[in-house]
């Protein structure tokens, strides 16, 4: 097994995701970046599960996928509402909570 390769892939995906979340202003892209982060975690879970011969990790990954689907549903709904209100999906403009 080449565990390291999977871990490096996951870490790369995680970093790309984090960058996307922090740097992009497009709401849809932010959601997509979050998906990248979640999937990097899933890669980790599956890889380590396979290495240890324990399916619990893979089951856990399935849960994460399900929860991520729900999260995307809610997130896209939010983005849609932001667009309806502001004719834009730039999340930098959604700053009503500014103190």
């Amino acid at each position: 097994m080449y565990l390291n390769q999977f871990l490096i892939l996951a870490a790369a995906l995680f970093c790309i995701g984090v960058y996307g979340v922090l740097a992009r202003r497009n709401g849809v892209l932010v959601l997509m970046s979050i998906e990248l982060i979640l999937n990097s975690v899933n890669i980790n879970l599956v890889a380590l599960s396979a290495m240890n011969g324990d399916v619990a990790g893979q089951v856990f990954a399935l849960f994460v996928i399900a929860v991520a689907a729900a999260e995307v549903g809610v997130g896209l709904a939010i983005v849609l509402l932001i667009y309806r209100n502001r004719r834009s999906i730039d999340i930098a403009e959604a700053n009503l909570l500014k103190g």
């Binding site: 740097a23 932010v30 999340i91 930098a92 500014k98 103190g99």
Partner: protein
């Protein structure tokens, strides 16, 4: 011998349940108040029924008591001479000295140890008879720490005698009132108060401790206030009620102080028997007893109308006549005399009665007899004559107790109750016939033709009062004069010259003023404008009963020499003394008994007859000239300047009312009040002003320095801190999700770094 059983059977039901007697009229009071007006006789029937029941119980108690005392005497006589009934009767007697019973259904009333004769002493002198030991029935009222306060009844000769007198006269007065106050606007209220008064007096009489006595005493005073002011719409009546109440309050202070002194001096006890026993045994200090006696004398002076606090009693005649008869002649005013008798051990030791020649009680009583008697001469109002006569007779009773003639005083109380009630009710009957006037000079005269029954009973009452033998007043008055121990061969408890002389003078005065009253009321020509008529049977029947009693009750206490001289049965002598006066017990002083003297009796009677005769001749001569003479002159005082001056003093009642209202009250109102005002304005107000200014200054200092400077600053500082930190923190709150995410990821990275480094 027959220890417990004998004691149990010896205590009669009537003794242990004596509380029922006052409870009956008390219940009647409540019932009349709530239901009286709706009943056919407006509540009178409840009052009469209750008092009649109480009377029956009182009579049964009296007979039980008399029977027990006779048994005690008999057992002692037999114990000395034969052995016949010695076992059973002797056992009874010995156990009866400490006879005390507790209520069967009582909560946890322990036995109260009535001080008894030490058994050893009694066995040593078996001939020394003990009789009439008080029977105390008590239960715990409340307790406070180590002190337990009890409530109960005390039955002895004195209280039994008063039970009989109060219920008897109260019953007759109730019956009389149904006619006398018929149609009155507060008829029901009147009967309610009569019941309450009867209950209060009976409660007082049966009190087993001084706390209860104070309660009864005050209750009696309140009822007196209510009944004197029965017709309160007229200011004079409500003034009289207030005067009676306030004058009594003066004495009540003495009562309170005296009772409290006794409480502490006798070792924290209110118990009458214990107080008396400790006083007699010398356990209580003489100084305390003296102080207590003098304080209690003040109470006696106010309640029993002794000089100089008697002024309320004549004014109390503003009440309805039955009230005057019941309260201000026969029962309530004897509460003071009863107090002396009840605490006789205290007075006996405190005032050093035996073997002396004068003491405060005897002196006050003696002055009162003469002072009251003289005042009776100048009254136009028939009831006021009787009121002053009551004052005078109460003086006799107090004198008797003051000189140590206990039985004489109690006997005079007993006889006086009957003939004075008879006289008062007679006066009411007269006034009933004369348009409710009491003015002898304007509205009476010649009434003997119109009201023969009232006339006859009034004459009997007057003769009894004047001490004409063989009527009741003669026997009791004679005993008092004998009791002073001055007259040769009498040998009492001391040589009380002043009471003796004053008593003799009063014997003459009484006959003279009663002759004047009878003359003005019943003889001569009728001077009023009404159509006098005899009163109805509900008024005359009580009069006849009382007149009968006024004739016969004197024979209850015939002196021993007389009985032996006349060859009467030996048992007729000194009955009353045996029944009422306890003998040989620890709670009653050993009193020396004066022996009767025939010359003294003859002298006093001759004096009374002579005085009456002179007064009779005087008024006969005066009215022979002009039937309306008394309307404008009294003859003597228009010719003799000394008599005129004396009349003026008497007419102004020795200026005592002037002293009270003018000088004492006036001084309080005038100089003392202005002095008080000056002190108020200049000193008290000054102090208050200074205090106020200081407070203002202090307030300013506190406001400026503490409140503004410290408290507010602290509040402001905390607010500013919160505000500043908020201003600082709001910069973080940008609303930019990416920034939050940055912070979150940065923090997470930081935490990871920390974990990695730490682990």
């Amino acid at each position: 011998m027959f220890a417990a059983e004998a004691a149990e059977t010896a205590v009669s039901w009537f003794y242990t349940h004596a509380w029922v007697i006052p409870a009956l009229p008390a219940a009647s009071f409540v019932l009349i108040l709530f239901f009286g007006k709706r009943l056919p006789f407006k509540g009178a029937e409840i009052g009469i029924t209750a008092v009649a029941a109480a009377f029956v119980l009182a009579v049964l108690t009296t007979f039980t008591w008399i029977g027990d005392v006779q048994a005690e005497i008999a057992s002692h006589e037999e114990g000395v001479t034969t052995e016949e009934h010695g076992t059973t009767e002797g056992g009874t007697t010995e156990e009866e000295a400490p006879a005390t019973s507790s209520e069967e259904e009582g909560l946890s009333s322990g036995e109260q140890a009535a001080p008894a004769i030490p058994a050893a002493e009694e066995e040593e002198e078996g001939a020394h008879a003990t009789r009439g030991a008080p029977i105390v029935t008590e239960r715990t009222w409340f307790s406070n720490g180590a002190d337990t306060f009890r409530i109960g009844t005390l039955v002895d000769g004195q209280s039994v005698m008063l039970l009989f007198v109060v219920t008897f006269i109260s019953l007759l007065v109730h019956v009389y009132s149904t006619d006398y106050v018929h149609g009155d606007r507060r008829y029901t209220h009147f009967f309610a108060f009569l019941s309450l008064f009867t209950a209060a007096m009976l409660y007082y009489v049966l009190s087993s401790n001084t706390l209860q006595m104070i309660m009864g005493w005050e209750l009696v005073g309140v009822c007196s206030f209510g009944l004197i002011g029965h017709w309160w719409e007229e200011k004079a009546n409500s003034d009289a009620a207030l005067k009676a109440f306030f004058t009594n309050r003066v004495g009540d202070i003495g009562l309170l102080v005296g009772m409290i002194t006794l409480y502490f001096a006798s070792g924290n006890t209110f118990d009458v028997v214990e107080i008396n026993s400790k006083a007699i045994s010398g356990e209580t200090s003489h100084t305390a007893l003296l102080v207590a006696s003098l304080c209690l004398m003040a109470a006696v002076m106010s309640k029993s109308g002794q000089f100089i606090l008697h002024t309320w009693l004549p004014d109390a005649m503003a009440g309805p006549t039955p009230v005057s008869a019941l309260i201000h002649a026969a029962t309530m005013v004897v509460a003071g005399v009863y107090l002396i008798g009840r605490l006789y051990g205290v007075f006996w030791m405190g005032l050093s009665i035996p073997g002396s020649s004068i003491n405060a009680m005897a002196a006050i009583g003696a002055v009162t007899t003469v002072g009251g008697g003289l005042l009776a001469f100048v009254q136009r109002d028939i009831k006021k004559v009787l009121a002053y006569s009551t004052v005078s007779q109460l003086g006799y009773m107090v004198t008797a107790l003051g000189v140590g003639a206990y039985t004489a005083g109690m006997f005079h109380l007993f006889t006086h109750a009957f003939f004075k009630a008879c006289l008062f009710l007679g006066a009411g009957s007269v006034s009933h016939a004369c348009h409710h006037s009491f003015d002898m000079k304007a509205d009476m005269g010649g009434l003997r033709k119109y009201m023969p029954k009232t006339f006859a009973t009034f004459i009997i009452g007057s003769l009894a009062l004047a001490g004409i033998p063989p009527l009741a007043g003669f026997w009791s008055k004679d005993e008092i004069l004998v009791g002073t121990g001055v007259f040769p061969g009498t040998d009492g408890n001391g040589t009380y010259w002043m009471p003796f002389i004053f008593g003799m003078i009063t014997a003459g005065l009484t006959a003279a003023y009663m002759t004047r009253t009878i003359w003005l009321t019943f003889f001569g020509e009728y001077r009023g404008h009404a159509h006098p008529h005899e009163s109805g049977p509900r008024i005359t029947t009580p009069l006849i009963i009382l007149a009968f009693m006024a004739v016969v009750v004197g024979f209850l206490n015939l002196p021993e020499p007389l009985v032996s001289t006349l060859g009467l049965p030996e048992g007729w002598a000194i009955r009353f003394e045996e029944w009422v006066e306890p003998g040989g017990i620890a709670s009653f002083p050993a009193i020396g008994h004066a022996s009767a003297s025939l010359p003294l009796a003859l002298l006093a009677s001759a004096l009374a007859v002579l005085a009456g005769f002179l007064a009779w001749r005087y008024y006969q001569a005066l009215y022979a000239k002009d039937p309306h003479a008394a309307e404008y002159t009294d003859g003597l005082r228009s010719r003799n300047s000394l008599a005129a001056a004396g009349y003026k003093v008497l007419d102004n009642k020795y200026y005592l009312d002037h002293l009270y209202t003018g000088i004492i009250a006036g001084a309080t109102k005038g100089p003392i009040a202005s002095a008080a005002y000056w002190i108020n304005q200049n000193i008290i107000d000054g102090i208050i002003n200074v205090a106020g200014k200081f407070s203002v200054g202090l307030g300013r200092f506190v406001y400026h320095f503490i409140d503004q400077g410290m408290v507010d600053q602290a509040v402001n500082a905390s607010g500013q801190t919160a505000s500043g930190s908020g201003q600082f923190l709001r910069r973080i709150q940008t609303g930019q999700i990416r920034q939050y995410a940055t912070l979150m990821f940065g923090s997470a990275a930081l935490l990871v770094a920390v974990f990695i480094i730490a682990i």
